[in-house]
């Protein structure tokens, strides 16, 4: 695991920073798509090291943040049932629904378990044939192959008690939504490295051409991020917007073809509501009809879900890069990681949570 240290080398970081400083001539707004990138930028303080001309805005790529309130409420409803073991990635447990979160369901006696892989949930289904085991299948393209695999695996085992609550969303439609908006400020994208490791980056050429915007596939370590920023700035300054790959040690143009085939076999495109952003057509995946018996939404009739969002929370504008957390009146006061009003404050990948955790002090100084 030595590679981590090498991609955090202070001297190499300085080299790239001085290249960025030499290259940048104009002010630019660059959006990193993925919440993991936002987290890493704040964790290492990368934003403070960049020249003033470069403004980083944070994208919608936190799956915990954009999972719709309706689906969170459905999850809470299913998890509360006595015969259900509800499995989820840890991040999701603290996401507030209209009433409570999965932690409160657990405290009230619901069987809620944190798993690290959907295949663990399949194992739990095998071990508990008298229980219904439901996995909360959230995420972008990155988590889709494993979720698809869990369905195929459960099918091969002949399990009748396993289902998934699907909340998959996909990146390119969100990029269209951001770039097509009249309030858009984004001039360049750092594409999400993990998403591209599955999907490749061939699908970004048409976006780059349509909106005349550079898109650079970027990783997560400080050197990866700075290299992605440097390449984006070079394209912006040269006026030659196109798609480039700054994460070639992981990502190829075609992506992971077997993984894509597995996604295609199990899922099909669907419309999705993004929490904070709203409805985006054909922006997600649902189970194909032939796998509908693994669909928790169909297996458990969850009706009368009436959602209610905080009226103060501006997470939608934050997820689109229009506003920064410190422009929210509730940030750090009514809304904290202990008591989040919106999803961007919950996950460690959420922009508000990252600001709260790593940069609150600067913001306080900013306001004093």
């Amino acid at each position: 695991m030595r590679y981590l240290e090498e991609f955090r080398d202070a001297e190499l970081v300085q080299n790239i920073l001085s290249k960025i400083n030499r290259t940048v001539k104009h002010p630019w707004v660059i959006m990193e798509i993925c919440g993991g990138q936002t987290h890493s930028i704040m964790q290492h303080g990368i934003d403070q090291l960049l020249p003033a001309e470069i403004e980083l805005v944070h994208g919608p790529g936190c799956p915990v943040c954009v999972t719709s309130l309706e689906l969170v409420d459905k999850a809470l409803s299913i998890a509360s049932r006595p015969n259900v073991i509800f499995c989820s990635f840890g991040d999701m447990l603290r996401v507030p629904g209209s009433q409570g979160d999965l932690f409160s369901v657990k405290a009230a006696g619901g069987h809620v378990r944190i798993v690290y892989s959907p295949l663990d949930a399949v194992k739990i289904a095998q071990q508990n044939p008298d229980k219904e085991v439901v996995f909360f299948a959230i995420g972008f393209e990155t988590t889709a192959p494993a979720n698809a695999m869990s369905v195929l695996y459960a099918q091969s085992l002949g399990l009748r008690n396993y289902s998934i609550l699907v909340s998959h969303v996909t990146v390119p439609p969100a990029m269209h939504a951001i770039l097509g908006s009249s309030t858009n400020r984004v001039q360049g994208f750092l594409a999400a490295g993990h998403v591209c490791s599955v999907m490749g980056y061939h699908q970004y050429h048409s976006i780059s051409q349509k909106y005349n915007i550079p898109i650079v596939v970027t990783g997560f370590e400080p050197l990866d991020l700075l290299n992605g920023i440097l390449m984006t700035v070079e394209l912006l300054e040269a006026g030659t917007p196109k798609v480039q790959n700054a994460y070639s040690r992981v990502v190829s143009e075609a992506g992971n073809i077997p993984a894509q085939a597995m996604i295609k076999r199990v899922f099909q495109d669907c419309d999705r509501n993004w929490r904070g952003i709203g409805f985006i057509p054909q922006s997600g995946w649902e189970l194909r009809p032939e796998y509908s018996r693994f669909d928790a939404e169909k297996r458990f009739e969850v009706e009368n879900i009436q959602t209610r969002e905080s009226e103060i929370c501006i997470s939608g504008q934050i997820l689109q890069g229009i506003k920064k957390p410190y422009q929210c009146p509730a940030f750090g006061k009514m809304c904290t990681p202990q008591n989040p009003l919106g999803a961007t404050m919950v996950s460690s990948e959420g922009t508000c949570a990252a600001y709260y955790r790593y940069a609150r002090l600067e913001m306080e100084e900013h306001h004093e």
Partner: protein, 355 residues
């Protein structure tokens, strides 16, 4: 008609109660003969010391002049109860010995109470008691009083151990969380996050195995070695739950000072580092059970560091930061690549990230 007498094989007898069990049963907590047997068979032989042998409801501890007494108490629950590098018994003894030692004082004695779940294997109990005895011997601190209760199956998770203790702090030592001062140096006695990662990986839920062992250990000798060198120590605190980051925030708040850390100098075992990176944890928030944060005037830094490194449990000690007036009540981290960020307290349970 058969007139032969009924074949009487033996006379009428009452079935004798079973005298030995391999699992804890409710009777072990009755306070009667079974409780006595459990104590005499397992606890007394291992914890043997004059105070305990007196068989009173209290323990005598000799008072000492020229100082004051400090007390501390701690409840211990851990799953699994046996993990690489230790077990709940070693944890229970080390936990209270360490809390007491953070006063700079010399721990004089511990008490231990056990809550056992019906069905708990007596062989496991015996193993835990031996481990407590070994750890107490290592620390040189006797277990002078104890209690055992049994709860019905399902009302506890195997075994809970609560320990309390007293220590004697000689006059002239004034160590506490509110005593950090601008200009002080911040040291740590070794690598961070070992206990938390060892326990998590022993649970088998991570989908990966690590070679990391818990650092659980009594630190009283390590701390006394520093105190013998200098009495001018401002803060001693063990970064247990919530890890280094949370503990330093407590100190920054109590002392109304800012603490500035250098990420580069913070010792983290490479396996802990990579495990945390994979799971989305930060080692600065992961629990330790055998580490101490030491805050001393900067003049003492080199001498204290040298002493620490010469002692068992202090080999990987390092200077990790310093104390400033501002930002009061906060901890800042200078990142390895030259950025600065806030190091906040942990907000709730640490949750693994999605991708």
């Amino acid at each position: 008609m058969n007139d032969s007498p009924l074949p009487i094989i033996q006379g009428p007898v009452c079935p004798l109660p079973i005298k030995t069990y391999d699992r804890i049963v409710i009777g072990h907590g009755s306070g009667g003969q079974m409780t006595r047997d459990l104590i005499c068979q397992y606890f007394l032989p291992n914890f043997s010391n004059p105070s305990l042998s007196e068989g009173n409801d209290f323990a005598n501890i000799e008072s000492r002049p020229g100082g004051r007494i400090v007390v501390s108490t701690d409840a211990h629950i851990v799953s699994p109860i046996f993990f690489p590098g230790g077990d709940i018994g070693r944890l229970a003894v080390s936990g209270t010995v360490n809390d007491l030692s953070m006063s700079g004082g010399i721990p004089l004695g511990l008490t231990a109470s056990f809550i056992l779940e019906e069905g708990f294997a007596i062989s496991s109990l015996e193993k835990i008691i031996r481990s407590m005895a070994d750890t107490a011997l290592e620390a040189g601190v006797p277990i002078v009083a104890g209690d055992t209760k049994v709860v019905e199956k399902g009302k506890a998770d195997g075994i809970f151990i609560s320990t309390s203790g007293v220590a004697w702090v000689p006059d002239g030592l004034q160590i506490g969380g509110a005593c950090a001062q601008p200009g002080d140096a911040v040291l740590i006695s070794g690598t961070l996050g070992d206990h938390g990662i060892a326990v998590l990986s022993a649970r088998g839920e991570l989908g990966l195995e690590t070679e990391i062992k818990s650092d659980v250990a009594p630190l009283n000798h390590l701390i006394q070695s520093i105190i013998q060198q200098t009495k001018d120590i401002h803060v001693l605190r063990d970064p247990t739950r919530g890890g280094l980051a949370t503990t330093l925030n407590e100190i920054a708040e109590q002392s109304q000072v800012g603490i500035i850390l250098q990420e580069k100098g913070i010792p983290v075992h490479p396996i802990v580092h990579s495990t945390c990176d994979m799971l989305g944890f930060d080692p600065l928030y992961v629990a330790n059970e055998g580490k101490v944060i030491i805050i001393v005037p900067s003049d003492n830094t080199d001498a204290v560091l040298k002493t620490l490194r010469s002692q068992k449990y202090g080999e990987n000690a390092a200077v990790i930061g310093h104390v400033e007036e501002q930002p009061s009540g906060r901890v800042l981290l200078k990142t390895g690549i030259g950025g600065t960020r806030l190091l906040d307290v942990m907000s709730g349970e640490m949750l693994p990230r999605i991708c």
